[in-house]
């Protein structure tokens, strides 16, 4: 049984929570459907977004160069980190050289991927996640389970407990408004005392050197504008060529993510504030490898809206943690093999190939084809269990030869019909919540041989 399957089983064991998780995310998907329907020519917009991203990826060195020049002219300090260690080092150096010990951070999957929090804490810095969902997860010392809704796997009572323990809210209090207000108060103190603010990046515009960050809470802005130092961490694929392209992406992002027409704040950072410093760190961390991979390249178009998670019937029922990756769900399963082929082995199979993710993706990533591709790769990989390989080979042989096929078929049907209990053990994965099929007396081929002639038209 794969790791995903085991963890999914654990998540599903709490049937009430699992049902709530599924229904809540389905509701988000329905909101997304309505928001998309309200836009004229939504499908065309998806096409445009995909084309812009393809173009950006094709000319990425040129756009990065253009972006760096523009950003430097704007007064920003631009650095390039080829991997997570360099990112960690750069951030720590920036903080030390500016005497900043207290840091607030808005949402960034990249820094999550690069283990930035853990590193900075180890180095003696205080780093506070300020997105409410991420703040909850940080207090609980758990990773987020969704890239847009980090705490979607938790019930309000659990969050109430966490806040009671860490923020001193009343015991047993679980009203979302009360809890959110308590977090507002706590985080305001953090914003106003922080010496530096780190943000993720949604889009980086090559022509103007502009960093665009989208939030609903306003936490990126509270951090960036209150602290003297602002640090924007972006991966290379956040580059888009021109300001006009933002028209396409800002129309797609929030509608796909939460069904809102736009996020509450779409912030454009171009120059540092007066007397402030603005740093931009451009991170590769394995992306170049994907860029030149014929299949994987398209995953770099991702704008991290999370729509593929909300629509995925597996994700909704297994929970984000079941994937064991920083980015869960369909897109997570498609990029996991690039990060670590072995730990990702079960993920392309944690999918019923329903294709809903590919249909919903605002930048048209062919997610189901990515996962189909990885299934083929995983199968030819050395570490695939010999038994599984043997079963595949035998099946291919049996299914290609009429005699073997008939023989195997009769055998299988015989057992299914007369001794189904004997198949229970080998087929226990099937019989856990299901009965075995009851075959009829004859196969179609047998019927056809006897009866087709009677049917002559």
């Amino acid at each position: 049984m794969s790791q995903h399957s085991k963890k999914a089983r654990r998540f599903l064991a709490d049937a009430k929570r699992a049902a709530w998780h599924d229904e809540t995310l389905w509701m988000v998907r329905c909101k997304r459907d309505r928001a998309a329907e309200a836009v004229d020519d939504w499908e065309n917009l998806r096409g445009q977004a995909s084309d812009i991203k393809e173009k950006a990826l094709e000319n990425i060195p040129q756009y990065i160069r253009q972006f760096k020049e523009a950003a430097r002219q704007n007064g920003a300090i631009v650095m390039e980190a080829s991997n997570h260690v360099m990112l960690q080092g750069y951030v720590a150096t920036i903080l030390r050289s500016n005497g900043a010990l207290r840091v607030v951070k808005s949402k960034s999957m990249l820094t999550e991927e690069c283990g930035l929090n853990e590193y900075l804490i180890e180095q003696g810095f205080t780093i506070i996640d300020t997105d409410l969902g991420e703040c909850i997860m940080q207090l609980r010392r758990e990773p987020p389970s969704h890239i847009v809704l980090p705490a979607i796997h938790l019930r309000k009572e659990e969050i109430g407990e966490t806040f009671h323990k860490h923020l001193g809210t009343e015991a047993g209090a679980s009203d979302p408004t009360y809890l959110a207000q308590a977090a507002r108060k706590y985080l305001r103190e953090q914003f106003l005392s922080a010496q530096a603010a780190i943000t993720g990046v949604n889009f980086a515009v090559a022509e103007t050197g502009t960093i665009v960050v989208c939030t609903n809470e306003g936490n990126a802005d509270m951090g960036v504008h209150a602290a003297p130092i602002q640090i924007h961490c972006m991966s290379i694929e956040k580059i888009i060529p021109a300001m006009a392209d933002l028209g396409v992406f800002t129309r797609l992002l929030a509608r796909s993510a939460t069904g809102q027409a736009v996020t509450a704040y779409t912030s454009h950072y171009r120059t540092p504030k007066p007397d402030g410093k603005m740093y931009i760190i451009i991170v590769d961390n394995g992306r170049s490898e994907r860029l030149y991979h014929p299949t994987g390249r398209s995953t770099l178009k991702c704008i991290r809206c999370g729509a593929c998670m909300n629509t995925c019937p597996v994700y909704r029922r297994s929970g984000g943690h079941s994937y064991g990756q920083v980015i869960p769900g369909p897109i997570g399963s498609a990029i996991a093999p690039f990060r670590d082929f072995r730990t990702a082995a079960g993920l392309p199979f944690a999918c019923s190939l329903c294709e809903s993710c590919s249909n919903i993706c605002p930048v048209r990533i062919n997610l189901h084809e990515q996962l189909y591709y990885w299934r083929q790769e995983m199968n030819s990989y050395r570490s695939t269990p010999i038994l599984r390989k043997l079963i595949m080979k035998t099946a291919a042989l049996v299914l290609a030869k009429p005699l073997y096929y008939r023989l195997a078929g009769s055998l299988g049907r015989f057992f299914l019909r007369y001794f189904p209990f004997m198949l229970k053990l080998p087929l226990r994965a099937w019989t856990r919540g299901r009965k075995l099929p009851r075959p009829e007396r004859q196969t179609f081929r047998q019927w056809y041989a006897r009866n087709a002639s009677k049917h002559t038209s």
């Binding site: 988000v28 704007n74 809704l149 914003f191 809470e217 509270m222 504030k273």
Partner: protein
């Protein structure tokens, strides 16, 4: 798109985003009775005065702050603010109640038009604001006022 449709769409979407829309015939509507201690940053002298904000305590108690915008987007109710409109970048976020004044002539249909209108303007910081700050991170229950303004009013004038 006719102007009436544009204005109606804008109003509908501002409300969907959780903000209120008032029609302002001019200065008179901006009443300090309604919003005690209102800081009207459409006035140049107040902008100047707040440019030299040093002490963060000066920010924290702001209850009502008004800014004048030159661009609103009908499809999503977003209103644009940039450096020139505010003396300090944190103000529209830290005020408890944010008031944005906008002329109906400043409305465009969608984000494509909005960015076309912004063009290559050299703003150092600019933001589209659609409704008050919000979060749904606790059980998807919508709560206004996560970190930024808890309330937002858009004053539409001709």
């Amino acid at each position: 798109m006719s102007k009436t449709i544009l204005v109606n769409n804008f109003i509908k979407n501002v409300r969907t985003a959780g903000a209120e829309v008032l029609f302002s015939p001019g200065e008179a509507a901006v009443s300090t009775d309604r919003w005690p201690g209102l800081l009207d940053f459409s006035k140049a002298d107040l902008r100047l005065q707040y440019q030299t904000l040093e002490n963060s305590e000066q920010w924290t108690d702001i209850a009502h702050a008004l800014f004048c915008s030159r661009l609103g987007v009908a499809e999503n109710g977003a209103v644009w603010l940039e450096d020139a409109d505010m003396p300090h970048r944190i103000l529209p976020f830290i005020t408890r109640h944010l008031i944005l004044r906008l002329a109906t002539d400043s409305l465009v249909a969608d984000m494509h038009e909005a960015y076309a209108k912004l063009g290559q303007d050299n703003f150092g910081f600019g933001v589209f604001i659609s409704g008050p700050s919000k979060t749904a991170d606790i059980e998807q229950s919508l709560v206004y006022g996560a970190h930024g303004a808890k309330e937002l009013t858009v004053l539409l004038c001709d």
